[in-house]
Symmetry: C2
Subunit: 253 residues, 2 copies
């Protein structure tokens, strides 16, 4: 037995991603680590769950306080399966990432990295999703890891409000510091690359660029990231639009 | 040319689902209909997007104001591909469903039905996800359709606040009326059925029951549904936890 915290590590880039190894390297400083990660890349899988085929998980290794499983499901499946079957006890923290690529602004709703963090906090476990603004497979996480450690330590000390998690995005290079922000309003535009196959049939690759609806707002994650700060957005699982709820109650049917 | 509104219909149960046909039947009363729906069932796909393989869409039919495409992607892919390539103009409304099964409370984050509605409103189009509390393939939608029509008509008349959509859940039987609600706090528990295959390897089926964290609260969707009312939750795409944002800014690093 140990009194070190139990830290659940997962991601959406899959078990072989560099960002996952880097995250484990930081987390083993703070506690015992269990990795349960998708066996293949699951980017853009959001909060998806798998009900149409059975899930499997295989233990790949167990040594010096680090246990590693791969799973054939989504990031959320990994968290659910871990909590319900693979772990001996509920973890003290869930950390997801380090994602290869940004999950700022509206990308929070598409992100498998954040899907896993959201799932963690839904079960009452303090959870954090970490993303680096570099989607290349061999991205340099060395500076990012310093911020991962600082933010994780702050969460250990302060805890997190129940049913909320953190969406942390880290710029490349040398960040200037950490800013707590709200999610910027934005959307992806021009989202497909249309091509024709050798049989003259059309197909479409998802692509696109990001449009920030509020470039001037200074309290958003995009504003912080563009100025080379690490952005931290507290995320909650209640999607109710309270601003309009009272007004809607006046509708006549 | 026509001045009837253009209504985009999709779902997550797939192009062959009864609930989709029933929704089209209601929508053709109000406008011209374009269906772009997943070619296979995509339940639980949340806001997932497809970046790892190319998307295809095939027009299946076009007659009397109803055009139908199937797509090999997720519900969100269907919306994005429709908006960006398949439609001649942006639709006036996006409606998703009628889902076979509930999407109340926290299920909003896992639901492909709601993923599509959320994607619609993100692009500024008034969007609604409809779900019936009966997951059977041959569910009886006859009473539900009356409420679908009433709620759609109210949205046509009143519009919706920008960047928000409606999550409508309809009880079986004869509902007593319509209640605007907030999303109940809850989670899925005991989520896997563990089995052993003929080769003595474990596998897991996602299953489980729902736990309502706040049974007594009278303003939630679950409360309304349990009392046989149609629940309507306005949903927004901003997941920022504003309640904790100011407090977090006091953290020292």
């Amino acid at each position: 037995m140990t009194d070190r915290p139990l830290i659940f590590v997962t991601n959406d880039d899959g078990i072989h991603a560099k960002g996952l190894r880097e995250l484990v390297e930081v987390m083993q400083l703070f506690g015992d680590v269990v990795v349960i990660a998708p066996e293949v890349a699951m980017s853009g899988m959001s909060n998806a769950i798998t009900a149409d085929y059975p899930l499997r998980a295989n233990k790949l290794s167990e040594e010096s306080g680090i246990t590693v499983y791969k799973c054939n499901g989504t990031p959320v499946d990994c968290v659910k399966l871990g909590f319900n079957h693979l772990l001996d006890r509920m973890p003290d923290f869930v950390v997801s990432g380090i994602n290869h690529g940004a999950n700022s602004s509206i990308s929070v709703i598409y992100s498998g990295t954040m899907g896993a963090a959201i799932e963690g906090c839904l079960h009452g476990v303090p959870s954090i999703g970490f993303s680096l603004l570099d989607f290349t497979p061999d991205a340099d996480f060395s500076k990012a890891k310093i911020y991962v450690a600082r933010i994780f330590q702050a969460v250990m000390e302060n805890g997190l409000p129940r049913f909320s998690c953190l969406n942390v995005n880290i710029p490349t290079g040398s960040p200037k510091g950490i800013k707590f922000c709200r999610q910027a309003r934005g959307k992806w535009v021009e989202e497909f690359d249309k091509r024709t196959d050798p049989h003259n049939r059309n197909y479409f690759w998802l692509a696109g660029s990001f449009h920030n609806y509020e470039e001037e707002a200074r309290d958003t994650d995009l504003y912080a990231l563009e100025r080379n700060y690490v952005s931290v957005v507290p995320v909650k699982v209640d999607m109710t639009c309270y601003d309009s709820l009272e007004e809607l109650k006046n509708w006549k049917f």
